[in-house]
């Protein structure tokens, strides 16, 4: 087990900067999810940990060791690929065993020289991995005779069997169907709890990030936007990108203005309260971007904000009501069945604690 530290790491391909000055300390035993849209640099960052991409600038540490120039096979990491990358000509048994066959391990204690495992030790480890991942009935099969979920578990077993310092996972659930994905999410969290190894997990799916991560690192355009627990990034997004990337539907962001007396926010159709606990209230009359999550817009007769209902989508356990404030689309989430009708008017109120302010120029959070 080990920590992973990005110290001002950049990766450039010619003119293109895939990862830009990344500073990120992943703690020992943590389940860190790198989250972002495609092309944000998260996979490149992961591949740099693996050693599959060279580092253009900065230092990458695994534990206390700078590994910029360490060969992938010597980093004591393992990786689960999106396509699983199983060896199609080997049986499941052989696939799981493969790292044990070629690598040396410090099995006699860290002060003793690393050595290859003998047959009995290998069999024991493979058996354990197969048991944990429910693969015992399939050990003699080739990967082609397995379902997607089973292949995925073989890839996990292969990663797990060598007890590496760090597990790397590159969108491992994206080829599974929705039901299996939900089930595997839980299994991954359980596996992490059991082995306690540091996990670095790349995904574009914020549900995976929110459900599995100890901490989430949100990336965009090669830059790290925010690091924090899922609750932190959800409750206090540092900018409008994070606000709108996390949450389904995303946070509503619309233009507003601080009222002349500085006591509330004026938006098209009414007013909203200023967020609670603001350290410095923006100057009266200045324009701002207001952010409110769909579930925090409450329909109430005395609400300070009036909107018109454009559409109502009923999802069973909740309704999504589409409206507009100015040019911005605004979605309201209401539990159960909504009484609102398309074309009708609604009054909305928001708890001051649930109002977010962003600078319209820098997109950064205010307060």
């Amino acid at each position: 087990m080990a920590s992973v530290t990005f110290d001002a790491v950049s990766k450039r391909y010619g003119e293109v900067t895939a990862v830009d000055d990344l500073n990120l300390a992943i703690e020992d035993g943590e389940f860190m999810v790198l989250l972002g849209p495609s092309g944000c640099g998260k996979t490149t960052a992961l591949r740099m940990i693996a050693g599959l991409e060279d580092i253009s600038d900065g230092k990458l540490l695994i534990g206390d060791e700078v590994v910029n120039d360490v060969d992938p096979s010597r980093r004591d990491i393992s990786m689960v690929f999106q396509s699983y990358a199983l060896y199609p000509h080997m049986t499941v048994q052989r696939n799981i065993e493969s790292p044990l066959l070629v690598r040396s391990y410090h099995v006699d204690g860290n002060d003793r020289p690393a050595r290859k495992l003998n047959k009995a030790e290998r069999d024991e480890r493979v058996a354990e991995a197969a048991r944990v991942l429910d693969l015992e009935p399939y050990l003699k099969r080739k990967p082609a005779a397995l379902s997607g979920g089973q292949r995925q578990r073989v890839a996990l077993a292969r990663a797990f069997v060598g007890r590496p310092k760090v597990f790397l996972m590159d969108e491992p659930l994206s080829n599974l169907d929705a039901k299996l994905r939900a089930q595997t999410r839980i299994e991954l969290v359980e596996l992490h709890a059991r082995v306690g190894t540091t996990v670095v997990y790349v995904t574009h799916d914020q549900v995976e990030a929110m459900t599995m991560a100890t901490r989430v690192a949100v990336m965009s355009m090669g830059k790290l936007q925010q690091v924090g627990t899922p609750q932190e990034v959800y409750a206090r997004p540092v900018n409008t990108f994070v606000a709108q990337f996390i949450g389904t539907p995303p946070m509503n962001c619309f233009p507003g203005k601080i009222a002349a007396d500085g006591s509330q926010i004026e938006v098209e159709g009414g007013t909203l309260p200023l967020p609670a606990g603001l350290v410095a209230v923006p100057a009266a009359g200045s324009t701002i971007t207001v952010g409110v999550r769909p579930e925090h817009l409450e329909v109430s007769g005395e609400g300070s904000l009036g909107v018109e209902v454009r559409a109502v989508e009923w999802l069973g356990h909740e309704c999504l009501i589409s409206t507009s404030i100015g040019d911005a689309n605004v979605v309201i989430r209401e539990a159960g069945m909504s009484a609102s009708q398309t074309g009708s008017s609604l009054r909305l109120s928001v708890d001051p604690a649930n109002v977010h302010l962003f600078d319209p120029n820098t997109t950064l959070r205010i307060g």
């Binding site: 050693g51 992938p72 199983l86 070629v102 080739k142 979920g149 089973q150």
Partner: protein, 307 residues
């Protein structure tokens, strides 16, 4: 009809349904189906019958005629000519020379082409130029490459002035060189295509698992491209048994018949079509048997992705 449980969720861990290999019904086709199947086959059958089966039958029948007075007339002798010629020294010698040619050209071309393809299968600036150069031997004709090698290793005017072409123990090697050179290009192109079909992620997984370059080649790459290697092996052996121009241009079968392969001996039968036909049928049978064995033996050791 059974009622399907609409709420049942397919169990992902259920064994994958295996379709029995020979589950298709047999011997139950009706006349209409047979007629339709035959109608679909007619175009290809017509081509095969006209250009292969009929000429082949004629060839087999020619083998039963013995040349009289240097080819002036022919006498029907039945199976005797087959037993005489195929059991004789000339056939055995020709077969041995053909085998020598195959032994020189196939392993060398296959191994060199594979090594070059492995070397050239990487993301490097300008690698396409090298890939084009390595595969260029494919684009030159056998005659051209033979002439090049003829003059390259010519004792009088050659770049390397060696007397291989007239030395009985080196002549076959001299004739094989252009074929090795050309096989290399063919092997390069086909193996390179095979390598490109191996997913990058599998090779990366092998790197992370700790496989070094040599182990990646022998334990991952070669098994994964083994169907391609198998295909190459079969066609290179067949090419080897059928080679002619190299020998005609470089050694003309000499010195002292040391490079007379089966094909060359067939070519020489200008006075005796009957014997030529027998040798041809012999070559056909040899190629057939070799191919059959190659598939029968190697097929079991070859990995085909989804089995």
């Amino acid at each position: 009809m059974s009622v399907t449980d609409a709420m049942a969720v397919p169990n992902d861990d259920a064994p994958v349904l295996e379709v029995p290999k020979r589950s298709r019904r047999k011997g139950k086709y009706n006349a209409k189906e047979v007629g339709l199947a035959f109608a679909f086959l007619v175009p290809s059958l017509a081509v095969f019958v006209t250009f292969f089966y009929v000429p082949f039958a004629r060839l087999v029948s020619w083998g039963t005629y013995e040349s009289q007075r240097g080819g002036a007339s022919y006498k029907q002798v039945g199976i005797d000519q087959y037993t005489d010629v195929l059991g004789g020294n000339e056939f055995r010698q020709g077969l041995w020379h053909s085998l020598q040619f195959v032994l020189y050209t196939v392993p060398a071309g296959l191994i060199l082409g594979t090594l070059l393809a492995v070397a050239a299968h990487r993301r490097l600036k300008g690698i396409k130029v090298f890939q084009a150069i390595f595969s260029s031997t494919l684009a030159s004709s056998v005659a051209v490459s033979s002439v090049i090698f003829f003059f390259l290793f010519n004792p009088a005017v050659g770049f390397f002035q060696v007397s291989w072409q007239s030395d009985p123990s080196w002549a076959m090697f001299a004739a094989a060189l252009p074929a090795i050179w050309q096989n290399l290009g063919l092997a390069f192109v086909i193996v390179l295509a095979g390598l490109q079909a191996v997913p990058d992620e599998v090779m990366e997984a092998a790197r992370l698992d700790g496989y070094g370059a040599w182990r990646r080649l022998t334990r991952i790459t070669l098994p994964l491209i083994s169907p391609v290697l198998m295909f190459l092996f079969v066609i290179l052996v067949i090419y080897g048994f059928q080679a002619f121009a190299q020998i005609d241009i470089i050694t003309k079968g000499g010195p002292g018949g040391a490079t007379e392969t089966l094909v060359f001996k067939i070519f020489k039968q200008t006075q005796d079509y009957g014997k030529g036909a027998v040798l041809s049928v012999g070559l056909f049978c040899v190629t057939l048997v070799v191919t059959f064995f190659q598939f029968a033996i190697l097929d079991r050791r070859v990995h085909y992705g989804d089995e």
